[in-house]
């Protein structure tokens, strides 16, 4: 596996007590600012196992306060979205998964103008640790070398002035 592939196996990331669903997920976020224009891609692929043994139910996911349907890949699921690089904050994103019934409750309370209180089936966390361009450091290497040479020149001139005086 490529070391840059930022895949984290979150085994049983949450066991929702009410529904006894477990989720096994992997995630990937793009970190390469240099080649990708102004967007961060977030992808999570997961398997959902519920006690009811219906493992391919239609799911809905809530992230950043918005709710979307989840794509199905045979018996697994994929949920992905993009965020603007300038507004994307580093840290964890919480994804709450709902089934159709809970989704209907969620929408109902949203329409009524209330805070949705629907209980999720499970939660997934996607970690975003920031993106970088050509430099891991905040300073270009050429600027760093320039600053270093200016510093050395300053020391040399200071010594010379001391000697002359």
């Amino acid at each position: 596996m490529n070391p840059k592939v930022f895949v984290c196996m979150v085994l049983c990331s949450l066991v929702a007590c009410a529904t006894s669903c477990t989720v096994q997920s992997t995630f990937y976020t793009t970190e390469d600012d240099l080649v990708i224009a102004n967007q961060i891609g977030f992808i999570t692929e997961f398997k959902l196992k519920c006690k009811s043994e219906i493992n391919s139910i239609p799911l809905f996911a809530e992230v950043n306060g918005n709710i979307y349907p989840v794509f199905r890949v045979k018996d697994d699921y994929q949920f992905s979205w993009t965020e603007d690089r300038t507004t994307a904050k580093t840290g964890s994103r919480e994804i709450r998964l709902f089934d159709e019934e809970q989704f209907a409750n969620y929408r109902k309370s949203q329409r009524a103008g209330e805070t949705p209180t629907a209980k999720e089936l499970a939660k997934i966390y996607v970690k975003y640790s920031g993106s970088f361009g050509s430099n891991i450091f905040f300073l270009n290497s050429e600027s760093f070398v320039l600053l270093l040479s200016v510093f050395v020149a300053y020391l040399a001139f200071q010594n010379r002035m001391k000697l002359v005086s």
Binding site: P69, F71, S80
Partner: protein, 195 residues
């Protein structure tokens, strides 16, 4: 007069029935518009390419049994890093849009034609007839050689370290000579003073 009323009533019923079918036909038909975008500034060999599919339902009814398949990234030319190129979704409500993201890495450099993805869905929920559609086409893009790209854009961190090491003798040797003579003459001056 009676006959006229009857025919008018018949006409009214027929027109109402026609209106209902057209209305219901319009109300329940989904229409998907699909865009495929490559969100990269540069396409570089062995570096991430972010592909975003957006499905808009501009119809008046929900699209069901939606299937999205992209055969535009063959395994001999691209490594699939994350996401799947063949996905399904049960329902897309009218007036909503959803996104699907895939990350691939090109295996080699050169020009590549990014073609459209294929979509199939049921525009009318109750009817099993499938509607086939294709997404927008990003078109041809040039994938840059990784070495060439690094030459232009990488931080050259190691190169600069090598440059500093190469510069060191020209700075350190004269400085050490200077320091040596400086300490020597300072000691001599001190000795003279003490005498």
């Amino acid at each position: 007069m009676n006959k006229m009323i009857k025919s008018f009533a018949l006409l009214l019923i027929v027109s109402m029935a026609l209106a209902t079918t057209t209305d219901s036909g319009e109300e329940t038909r989904a229409k998907l518009l699909v865009s495929k975008q490559i969100l990269n500034k540069y396409l570089v060999e062995q570096r991430d390419i972010l592909v975003k599919y957006t499905l808009y339902n501009v119809g008046t009814g929900p699209a069901t049994h939606v299937s999205l398949e992209d055969q535009g990234f063959p395994s001999e030319a691209f490594d699939l890093v994350s996401g799947k190129l063949e996905v399904q979704i049960d329902r897309i409500a009218s007036g909503t849009n959803i996104t699907h993201v895939v990350i691939v890495r090109p295996r080699a450099h050169g020009y590549f034609n990014f073609t459209a993805a294929e979509i199939s869905y049921r525009p009318v929920e109750s009817s099993p007839n499938l509607q086939y559609a294709i997404s927008s086409e990003p078109g041809e893009g040039g994938i840059v050689n990784l070495a060439q790209f690094n030459k232009q854009f990488s931080s050259h961190f190691l190169d600069w370290i090598a440059f500093v090491i190469m510069c060191l003798p020209t700075v350190v040797i004269p400085y050490s000579l200077f320091l040596k003579s400086k300490t020597k003459y300072e000691l001599l001056a001190q000795k003279k003073k003490s005498n």
